[in-house]
């Protein structure tokens, strides 16, 4: 007799089964949640083939493909929530937040609609696809909307747990995800809460605050390299960008002074801005923001090459942090 054992999320067996793509594990969380809660709906914008197949097969009555029409997709999600459903909108982050920006603002945020947006292809992960498929403004847009929760999981494991946290939250949530597998940061004992954060390394010289796929792992690699240079870097995963963990930021500023933020998002309005807004008011320290420059990519290259170009690879982050530490030590 074959016994089916469900592996613990984040365990090696779970990763072997489900992989390290954040959209895949977010979809998994939605699918598992749907098994015990028939309020959960999967809403698609002609991108259901990005991991929505299992939901469609098992729960065809709760799976709706609205085609290529995001304003209607978001508005209809709000309508479903108005009569008690918990719709998950699965589409590219830019399509939900920018094409349908006013529907997100009024029908979700203003109405506090219990709708979750699982946005993929965020940052510059789409690489060669070019600027139409890059998404460097989503955090700024979502964060500026009252009532909106903004989550940026650091890996597929955090994406799984934060999707369930979004399910449990009463109100609109934007979860920033990606398609390709990314470096594992967390394991089977980690837990996540809206409004929370993770201190992943302790250190006295500088705090690197990062959020999102790839960048948190990059911050950890940079911290290791900095340690070899005698620079002790504290690393904070600020996965809940809104509401933000003010206490961890103030505490970090008091411990290390200098803060460096790392994000795969425009340097305007994203994680760095969120950090600076807190610290400017509560614990002013120098804040250096690393992120996407204020321009659309003008070169065609891979994701990895874009990261280097924008100074967001581990070597660049290490060098910038080291420079900043030296500069502020003087």
């Amino acid at each position: 007799m074959t016994e089916t054992i469900t592996p613990v999320p984040g365990s090696a067996a779970w990763i072997e089964r489900h992989g390290l793509s954040a959209i895949d594990t977010s979809r998994l969380a939605q699918f598992e949640a749907a098994a015990t809660d028939d309020r959960i709906m999967s809403l698609e914008g002609d991108l259901g083939d990005c991991g929505g197949e299992e939901f469609m097969r098992h729960y065809p009555g709760r799976y709706f493909d609205f085609g290529i029409a995001e304003a209607n997709l978001v508005g209809a999600a709000a309508g479903m929530a108005a009569v008690g459903k918990i719709p998950f909108i699965n589409t590219f982050g830019s399509f939900a937040l920018m094409r349908a920006c006013e529907q997100v603002r009024l029908d979700l945020a203003y109405h506090r609609s219990n709708v979750k947006i699982a946005g993929t292809f965020t940052g510059i992960a789409a690489g060669f696809s070019g600027p139409t498929h890059h998404c460097g403004e989503d955090i700024a847009i979502a964060r500026a909307m009252p009532n909106m929760v903004v989550l940026a999981p650091a890996d597929a494991i955090a994406a799984y747990h934060l999707t369930l946290a979004a399910r449990d939250w009463q109100g609109p949530v934007y979860i920033r995800l990606g398609v390709d597998p990314t470096t594992q940061v967390y394991g089977e004992t980690d837990s996540f809460a809206i409004g929370g954060s993770k201190v992943l390394r302790d250190g006295e010289d500088v705090t690197i605050v990062a959020a999102g796929l790839t960048t948190v792992a990059t911050a950890l690699t940079a911290a290791d390299s900095l340690a070899a240079q005698g620079i002790r870097a504290r690393v904070v995963d600020l996965y809940s960008i809104k509401p933000v963990d003010r206490a961890v930021l103030v505490d970090s500023a008091r411990r290390t002074g200098l803060i460096v933020t790392v994000e795969e998002h425009s340097v305007i309005g994203g994680l760095g801005s969120a950090v600076a807004e807190v610290l400017a008011a509560e614990a002013p320290v120098p804040v250096r923001m690393l992120g996407l420059p204020d321009e659309y990519a003008h070169v065609i290259c891979s994701y990895e090459a874009h990261l280097v170009r924008c100074g967001l690879d581990a070597n660049s982050v290490t060098a910038t942090v080291a420079d900043e530490v030296r500069r502020w030590r003087q």
Binding site: M41, G61, R62, F64, F66, G67, A69, A71, N72, L73, V74, G75, A76, A77, A78, G79, M80, A81, A82, V83, G84, K85, P87, E102, Q103, L106, D107, Y110, H111
Partner: protein, 277 residues
Amino acid sequence: MTATTARPLVELAHRIRHHIVELATNSPGAHVGGSMSATEILTVLFFDDVLKVDPSNPQWTERDHLIYSKGHASAALYAVLAERGFFPVSELATYKQPGSRLAGHPSRDIPGVEWATGSLGHGLPVGVGISLANRHDNNTSRTFVVLGDGECEEGSVWEAAMSAAHFQLDNLVVVVDRNGFQEDGPTEEIMALEPFADKWRAFGWQVADVDGHDVTQLSEALHRVPFASGRPSCVIARTEKGHGLSFTANTHTWHYGKFSQEQYQQALAELSGEVPS
């Protein structure tokens, strides 16, 4: 419906127009034109047993939903909700006053308001979602969405219209207040909508074309929905912008405005005449 049974609805519509005149006078201003044109539509929906609603229990789960997508014309909606008993008629005097619930564009703080509208093109997508969810739950409640005609220039209306037919939402009804004007002028001059009924038919809707100030025609159409099984229904209510007052009728200049004391007196004089039959 006979002339006798229509009479109470005609009188109610007349009373609604009185309220609109008061609101346009005793406030910074109101969207008079679109409120006057939508008066009979709302009157028939709320007072002719079309909408299944309970003013004492606005959140009743079995109710029909009314999404009033042309939220700028709030004066008519507030007057109808108050007369229907969702809140006291005396509260209408607080329209656009400090601390009031009755803002220029409706919010869900107001009993009977299902959706906060004012930015156009939002109502029909929301109505599609409510209709889909109700059908999923085997809830026989229906969703009525009142659209302005100028509003139908928004692409989101047609995204939603396409999906309503695709999903075969025969529990969804649109009523378009086809008053022929938008803020800047006649719709056919600003952005032509005709052939309007054909557009809805082409998008898969079953369409009825009625005189939107004739309560008998409105009643007949709204009690007949769905017009076809498996298809959404659209009632195009041909109306007159600013209907009911000589100086507001058939013009976009009274899309929004505040009545002077002189205009107020003229409006009262015109409305004090015999109720039109």
